[in-house]
């Protein structure tokens, strides 16, 4: 099962990728919004972990474009971001973001929430 992780911080990408790889997922990484969109259309991952603030295309724009594409419309998106004002969260949920996880985050919590979204038991 593939998961796309998009964040302009290589530190965060590696952290999340290591956790998800240990959970048995195949992880694809993207370092900006444009690359995330291309990877999503190409790889059709089971889920996308997305930062809000990224170069080229921000996270909300990526979510909007994913929803316009019939092939990527149903891919659940987990927003992992420092931008967690009520307005940001409402905007994100309005666009169809499945989960909003604020930074600083717990990689373990992120892992469990992803398991839940994908309908898997933890550790499987």
């Amino acid at each position: 099962m593939k998961i796309l992780v998009a964040d302009d911080s290589s530190t965060v990408r590696r952290l999340v990728a290591a956790r998800l790889s240990a959970d048995g997922y195949e992880v694809i990484e993207a370092e900006d919004g444009a690359e995330a969109l291309q990877a999503a259309c190409r790889e059709l991952p089971a889920l996308i972990v997305l930062d809000k603030v990224m170069p080229k295309l921000d996270g909300f724009e990526v979510v909007r474009l994913l929803h316009e594409n019939t092939q990527t419309r149903t891919i659940p998106v987990v927003m992992l971001t420092t931008r967690t004002s009520e307005a940001d969260v409402l905007d994100g949920l309005g666009l169809g973001v499945a989960e909003y996880i604020p930074k600083p985050f717990s990689p373990r919590e992120l892992s469990l929430r992803i398991h839940r979204l994908l309908g898997r038991a933890p550790g499987l």
Partner: protein, 337 residues
């Protein structure tokens, strides 16, 4: 004369050549370091990520001080991003690998830059073992070391030194207002009662800042103290207290706030703060005081009154042309809830 000129020319050329060589060497060394760091960074990020997943994994091996420096920088970046068990494990890792001891030593270094770097690092690391040295660093002659040490102590949860932290914050208000506010916010979250105490006894500047923080933190227990200052001659303090009472939602303050709105001896900004607080508290019964302000000569007061009435569910006031809805004078006529 010719000989002197020739000597000067040769000397100048030697200096330029020497400078050029120095610049080239420094750049080459810098480039080599950056190349090495770029090669090592992904390895360290990978090792740290793996370490967080596998509790039995051995600690990364670092060959020299340059690697240690880079490793610490990478860990500090990760500490900013994570919380919970992973944050604790990384802090424990830094303690075991001797980084915390190194940073503690740097807290008392002669060079200010070293002390600052150490204090800033501890804000992210939040290591209990640095508690004592950080408390001593609250007395550092450099304000940035004091700020970072105080923030680190708030992060550790050193509640016993909250009075000293608030003292540091008070001392920083004039030159570092944002840092002072950040410290007060952090201290207030941990001990609202201590913040309230500071509000009672602090200097006017401190009281204004603390009044704002009390509102931001919605500390209901501070409402009595805030209400008391609504009669103060310190106009800025009154305005801040009014805003904070609005944020807290203190209905008991409505009579005093209504009085402020109608008090023509008060400056406009105080009356505006009071009417906005009335709107924020949300009791429609307080509408008449805001409605009377629609007849004021003061345009900002009229505008704020219209906004407050909208929040209270009173009928909308017709907007006038322009960028803002500035109710014309006399707009209160005929208004009722």
């Amino acid at each position: 004369m010719t000989a002197i000129l020739a000597t000067l020319t040769v000397g100048f050329a030697m200096v330029m050549i020497t400078l050029t060589v120095i610049i080239v060497v420094v750049r080459a060394v810098g480039d080599a370091r950056r190349t090495r760091d770029a090669r090592l960074r992904p390895r360290f990020e990978e090792e740290i990520a793996e370490y967080l997943i596998d509790p039995d994994r051995s600690e990364p091996e670092l060959s020299d001080s340059r690697e240690r420096g880079l490793f610490l920088r990478v860990v500090l970046e990760i500490l900013v991003e994570v919380r919970g068990v992973d944050h604790e494990r990384l802090t424990a890792l830094l303690e075991r690998m001797g980084f915390v001891d190194d940073l503690v030593r740097q807290l008392t270094a002669r060079r200010r830059a070293a002390r600052r770097r150490a204090a800033v690092a501890f804000v992210s690391i939040a290591s209990e073992s640095a508690r004592g040295p950080l408390i001593r660093a609250l007395g550092d002659r450099d304000p940035e070391v004091r700020i970072s040490s105080a923030l680190a102590l708030v992060a550790i949860g050193a509640d016993e030194v909250l009075p000293q932290i608030l003292e540091v914050a008070a001392g920083l208000l004039a030159d570092h207002p944002y840092s002072a506010a950040e410290l007060m916010l952090g201290a207030g979250r941990r001990s609202p009662s201590m913040l309230s105490q500071e509000f009672r006894v602090g200097s006017p500047g401190v009281r204004r800042s603390v009044a704002e923080i009390l509102g931001l933190l919605r500390i209901v227990d501070a409402a009595d103290d805030l209400r008391e200052v609504l009669a103060s001659a310190d106009e800025e303090l009154v305005a801040v207290a009014a805003r904070s009472l609005g944020l807290i939602g203190d209905a008991e303050a409505l009579p005093a706030l209504s009085g402020l709105v109608g008090d023509e001896h008060r400056p406009e900004f105080v009356r505006v703060a009071a009417v906005r607080a009335i709107g924020a508290i949300g009791d429609p019964a307080a509408g008449p005081a805001a409605a009377r302000a629609l007849d004021s000569d003061l345009s900002h007061l009229r505008s704020a009154a219209a906004e407050a009435l909208a929040l209270l569910g009173w009928p909308a006031v017709t907007a006038v042309p322009g960028d803002r809805a500035l109710p014309a004078r006399g707009a209160s006529a005929g208004l009722h809830p």
